[in-house]
């Protein structure tokens, strides 16, 4: 019996799809059977980030409407055979699926996989409700930026209302800006959101490059963000890994992050 995790944020463009793709890929490379579901009906992206857009035959809506079996819609990753993608539909919209149907689907997939990831769309309406319906836990992604934190706070409130425990992933952290006081530190963010911190991802141009190529950045050993995603995956598996102090650039940052 696996675990269903929804990756959500409220705000758009903070890194939900990237995080879903990379954490799934990292877990799969650790030997777990993982399926990543693209919950963004009408605006599918997860397939592009994983580089599987040419292999789509059936999609999530087909499965829900029983036009095909789940196995027929799942796409196995090119490199990692433990990783599967259930792509979304590009022609329908979010009214095509109900929360109950999603819950049923997650229950079914949970039987076969160790982890079921749901990439939640931005917002708090039908798309969000569909995505959280079948979830056991949530990862809330936020950037250290005021509007992102506000939206994440809203989402945390909604998750609490639905009894879904959440942990926080702070994405796109710029170490120089935190140092100069221009960007919120992770403690500022934690102060407001007050949930457990899963991990920190630094701003990294490699992510954009990897995305365009359709390869999860987690496979790139030179990318600090990729390595951060790997650590996050290990934490999800129960390993106690400290959030590092990112000393490779300058020693002065150690005191900012050393506490964690």
């Amino acid at each position: 019996m696996g675990e269903t995790i929804v990756v959500t944020s409220g705000k758009g463009g903070v890194g939900k799809t990237t995080s879903t793709a990379n954490i799934s890929a990292a877990l799969a490379s650790e030997g777990k059977r993982v399926v990543a579901i693209d919950g963004d009906i009408g605006l599918r992206n997860l397939d592009i980030v994983l580089g599987l857009e040419n292999r789509i035959v059936y999609n999530l809506v087909d499965v829900i409407k029983k036009r095909c079996r789940p196995k027929q819609a799942l796409i196995r990753d090119k490199k990692n055979h433990n990783l599967f993608l259930l792509p979304s539909s590009q022609v329908d919209d979010k009214t095509a699926v109900t929360p109950e149907e999603m819950k049923e689907l997650c229950a079914e997939l949970r039987q076969e996989f160790d982890f079921v990831f749901i990439d939640c769309p931005a917002g708090i309406e039908q798309g969000f409700k569909n995505a959280i319906a079948g979830a056991d836990t949530a990862i809330v992604v936020s950037t250290p930026e005021v509007s992102s934190v506000r939206d994440a706070d809203r989402v945390i409130g909604l998750l609490q209302h639905n009894d879904i425990p959440a942990s926080l992933l702070v994405n796109r952290v710029s170490l120089e800006m935190v140092e100069s006081g221009e960007m919120m530190s992770k403690d500022d963010v934690m102060d407001i959101l007050a949930i457990d911190l899963l991990g920190l991802i630094v701003e990294d141009p490699e992510i954009l490059i990897a995305s365009n190529q359709g390869i999860p950045v987690v496979l790139n050993t030179n990318s600090p963000a990729g390595q951060a995603y790997l650590r996050i995956a290990k934490r999800l598996l129960g390993e106690q890994i400290e959030i590092p102090s990112f000393e490779h650039k300058k020693g002065v940052f150690a005191r900012l992050f050393g506490r964690s």
């Binding site: 506000r150 939206d151 706070d153 809203r154 945390i156 409130g157 909604l158 609490q160 209302h161 407001i192 007050a194």
Partner: protein, 307 residues
């Protein structure tokens, strides 16, 4: 106050018209009731410029209040308020020797009124009376009489699980219980604001809203985008980053307290205010209290406020 009996009445006795006000302590309500009363009875035509005497049943009426009432009577009822008189149908009350205006300094009422008979054994100070009057009107089983002070302030009322949380004050005791409330007068306690408060132990996230008729004590933060609303006082044992609205129904004595005061907006009754950007820069390390003074919201550190 019996529920069902109005706050103001116009009665004739002999050759004079009397404006009877049964409880002047909650003045905003009195004004409202008076306007309603005058509108209802087609007063302008009826009274045709008659004289009327204010009968206050032993309560103080400040000159400010007197002139306000006078204005309302003129505008809405075509009545001339000529003087104040002690009503023969008074409730037991003691005139304080140095009775200043009843609006006084917010939060620090200067007249102390011992319990009035209609209000049972509850303490009728400036600011307690309004709540009791309201309670009696709306909830017949008012728990105010029965709660010992400490118990009521620490009582936890579980909030319903909903994104828009409405926490209504619930009576905690069996109304049939005999009134065994300790008389606070014995301890020399004055200026008791509200004998009832609800305790909520959680953080309000963005988009959540809490309303309570009673004062609210919140153990947690109020995040930006969240709202906390009360008819009385708001005490936040945490950081206020959102909107707090105290004294909703016209209680200008209500205060907002927070360990860290960083609100986007503060409201007490109908007075709104927002922090200037400069204030936001130097945050006070101390807890602060916000209250109304001269139609403005003033924020002072807790220490200063107490003195």
């Amino acid at each position: 106050m019996n529920s069902g009996k109005s706050l103001v009445e116009i009665k004739g006795s002999g050759s004079t018209l009397g404006l009877h006000i049964y409880d002047i302590s909650f003045f905003a309500k009195v004004e409202k009731e008076l306007r309603k009363l005058l509108k209802r009875s087609n007063s302008k035509q009826f009274f045709q410029g008659a004289n009327i005497i204010l009968k206050t049943a032993g309560n103080d009426v400040s000159s400010n209040e007197f002139s306000k009432l006078s204005t309302i009577l003129e505008e809405e009822g075509n009545l001339h308020l000529i003087k104040t008189e002690e009503s023969t149908e008074s409730i037991e009350g003691v005139q304080s020797a140095d009775s200043p205006t009843s609006s006084g300094i917010p939060g620090r009422p200067s007249t102390f009124r011992p319990p009035a008979i209609q209000k049972s054994t509850s303490l009728a100070s400036e600011t307690t009376a309004p709540q009791i009057a309201k309670e009696n009107k709306t909830t017949k089983k008012s728990s105010v009489k029965n709660d010992p002070l400490t118990k009521s302030l620490l009582s936890a009322i579980p909030s319903e699980k909903s994104p828009t949380r409405k926490v209504k004050k619930k009576p905690k005791q069996n109304p049939a219980e005999p009134t065994a409330q300790p008389n606070l007068e014995l301890f020399g306690l004055r200026d008791v604001d509200a004998l009832d408060a609800c305790l909520i132990r959680q953080t309000l996230h963005s988009g959540q809203k809490i309303y309570s008729k009673s004062s609210i004590v919140l153990l947690g933060d109020v995040n930006g985008g969240a709202e906390i609303v009360s008819d009385n006082n708001i005490i936040i044992l945490g950081t206020l980053r959102g909107v707090a609205h105290a004294g909703l129904e016209g209680n200008y004595q209500a205060i907002v307290f927070a360990l860290k005061m960083q609100p986007t907006q503060l409201r007490i009754s109908d007075v709104f205010s927002r922090p200037s950007t400069k204030d936001h820069m130097d945050q006070s390390a101390e807890s602060e209290v916000a209250f109304v003074e001269d139609r403005d919201i003033v924020i002072e550190t807790c220490q200063k406020f107490r003195v």
